[in-house]
Subunit: 419 residues, 2 copies
């Protein structure tokens, strides 16, 4: 039977607007698809789930994170990108050759994602195929859906973490084959970034993307030193983007993390090609990369979603990333002399939920037909709830909630909470 | 009998340096004063408290916050200072005329401060004398020590929150008298800020400070519009600071919140007069004021401590403020083209603990003779602790801890935890 959820409903069908319904209803079919949002009880027969005074809202999408960096969350934060990669990240990622180490870490990661209300994600693994397949399986089992990529890297990385080009390709094929059995996790082509991939590898991965129809995720224009490095490595390129474009990796649906230093040309090509910019505000601040001018991307019609980018970003919990995006945009607003309006709560929430839902082929907000990806939040710990209009309660929740305040999580696979 | 605490000790005796002792000891006299920090068990007779694998570190000092804004934490964050004051803050503060409303809010506030490891503070109340005395009593009872000020404001504020100048003064005297019975809470002269105080009020408060020997807290150079406004109001002044200096309010030990737009002259006078700059990074970002160039203040010999500035800052929990300060400083580093080094974890922690301890007449870190202000943190929730050097465990804690991870709090009044 269909289920009717009763509670305080908040969702974001439109960028910049929160629809808030006190004591409202969301109806979900027995296949786990939203059939409607209502202010008054709809006609029909339902199993009713009364959420009391809790708030029922959309679950989060984390569209850029590095699973094998989970063990490093919050460490080494006094460094910048390239030094931080060499001193911390690469040695840590190499440990994921050990499947036991990987399993322990990935189980914790998947659990923390679900507990924190993240039900969909685009995830970088390490270069190790077996650990990557294990990651995909653990995420699927724990109820996270989306994309997992085995990382490719065959130059400018330490010996212990550098692939042979041919092996990198054949292992990627093995990874893709190994994903066939999964229901809600799909593989994604994942060159680490231009500096870590030879031209031969980039072009072969582009060919593989074409052949398999898989999308691509990578990094772009994160840090000034990195941008300069790519210019050295691709002296004939018209920009960082061109190293991906020429290889066939800068096509519709490609997810490009960061875009802090994307120039006008790069943004123009992204818009034209329907490449996605994944905004990772905490990461950009924590390893001192800079601020992505999100507003400009949106105004120029580029698709933007949001990522935690753990562990360059020190929090996996998406409300922190949302607030981080607002804070970064406020500082950008000051530094552009108020030329670029900062993100409102409603806008930043949209980017971490509805915007990414579109990437998964769904509608925004609790659109009819969407899988039911939702969380129920108990904000009674914060006090004074009955005095506040729902929209202010919700804004307060974004700023102040802890994972423990999320009491239930629905992950698109039905009407049973997976938390 | 004296007490010996056994655990992983982390403290900050020097700016920029964390002293980390795995399985170390802190000895505390039966009057609650630190007598020493040891790597090996010291000689002598002690009651021993074994903290196991927990981390024992300094408690936090929150040197700028507005108690009656506690009820507003996380609300109205899409606005800037002056509009936010008028639409949100002033109407809310007016409710603290109601002593029952105040009591409910202040009890929650005091409890959240102690639970979050903040044992010392400098607190703005509202203009209401009875509520302010109640706040002082509640803080003292719950175990927070420091300063509480009844706010003075007699112009440029709504009618329902505007004092008569004479009444403002006599009520301030009544507040100071009423604080006589407190042991660990002292009154502090608290003009809201120059725009909200007539010249007559500022000068009279300066006179009162001289007469009573009390110190002063207020706001300075937070927002460009506010700075311009003060210039209009004090056209003959040499700067914002001069409005306080002429009134006798810019003297040794004055706590001045914000200092985002303090120019060279203002900083020079602050250094010369031993006025303290209270850095409130989350507030400065959340209501889009800007970034205080903390490094410059420190290099110029100005005393700097840290404040949550709730509710302009959306978090009362000092580790969030510490990380906020690091993040703000990283963006400042980028925007000054790497001229001003960002704050390290060790530096930011020092500002939120040892720096303020000096204001209370104590030594830095767990200095011998200090009151025992400390917290015990259980980081087992984060996993992998046994793999990390203590300094990395501690940095990770700063980024990732939640109030629930603080298991015990000692507030300087003895060796019994108040959490």
């Amino acid at each position: 039977m269909a289920t009717l959820f009763k509670g305080n409903i908040v969702h974001a069908p439109v960028f910049g607007e929160l629809v808030c319904i006190e004591h409202g209803y969301v109806a979900v079919s027995d296949e786990g698809r939203v059939t409607g949002v209502y202010a008054a009880r709809p006609e029909g027969e339902f199993d009713e789930v009364d959420l009391g005074d809790m708030i029922l809202t959309q679950a989060f999408c984390d569209m850029h994170l590095h699973a094998p960096q989970y063990t490093m969350l919050g460490r080494g934060m006094d460094l910048q990108l390239l030094e931080w990669l060499n001193r911390y990240v690469f040695p840590e990622e190499s440990r994921y050759a050990d499947i036991t180490y990987a399993e322990n870490s990935y189980r914790r990661l998947a659990d923390e994602m679900i507990s924190g209300g993240t039900t969909r994600a685009a995830v970088f693994s390490s270069l190790h195929t077996d650990s990557s397949l294990l990651l995909a399986r653990i995420l699927e089992e724990r109820g996270v859906s989306g994309f997992v990529g085995k990382v490719n890297m065959d130059r400018n990385c330490p010996d212990f973490l550098c692939e042979d080009t041919e092996a990198s390709l054949s292992e990627t094929r093995r990874f893709i084959d190994g994903c066939k059995d999964f229901g809600r996790i799909r593989p994604i082509i994942t060159p680490r970034f231009t500096p870590a991939c030879t031209d031969a590898l980039l072009f072969a991965l582009g060919e593989l993307a074409r052949e398999t129809g898989l999308t691509v995720q990578s990094h772009i224009s994160e840090n000034p030193d990195e941008v300069a490095w790519v210019k050295d490595l691709w002296p004939t390129g018209r920009g960082y983007w061109d190293s991906y474009l020429q290889a066939g990796l800068f096509e519709k649906g490609a997810l490009m993390g960061h875009c802090v230093y994307s120039d006008e040309e790069e943004r123009r090509v992204m818009a034209k090609k329907s490449v996605w910019a994944i905004h990772c505000p905490l990461s950009n601040i924590d390893i001192a990369s800079g601020i992505m001018p999100v507003r400009r991307f949106i105004d120029e019609g580029i698709n933007v979603a949001m990522g935690s980018d753990i562990c360059a970003g020190a929090s996996l919990f998406m409300p922190r990333v949302i607030v981080g995006a607002i804070r970064a945009s406020k500082l950008n607003w000051i530094h552009t002399f108020k030329q670029e309006a900062f993100l409102t709560c409603a806008e930043a929430f949209f980017l971490a939920t509805s915007a990414a839902a579109v990437y998964f082929g769904e509608g925004t907000g609790f659109a009819a037909g969407n899988e039911f990806h939702a969380i129920a939040i108990d904000d009674s710990r914060l006090g004074f709830s009955n005095e506040l209009p729902l929209v202010e309660r919700f804004e307060r929740i974004l700023y102040r909630m802890e994972p423990v305040d999320i009491k239930m999580v629905w992950n698109g696979s039905g009407t049973t909470s997976v938390k």
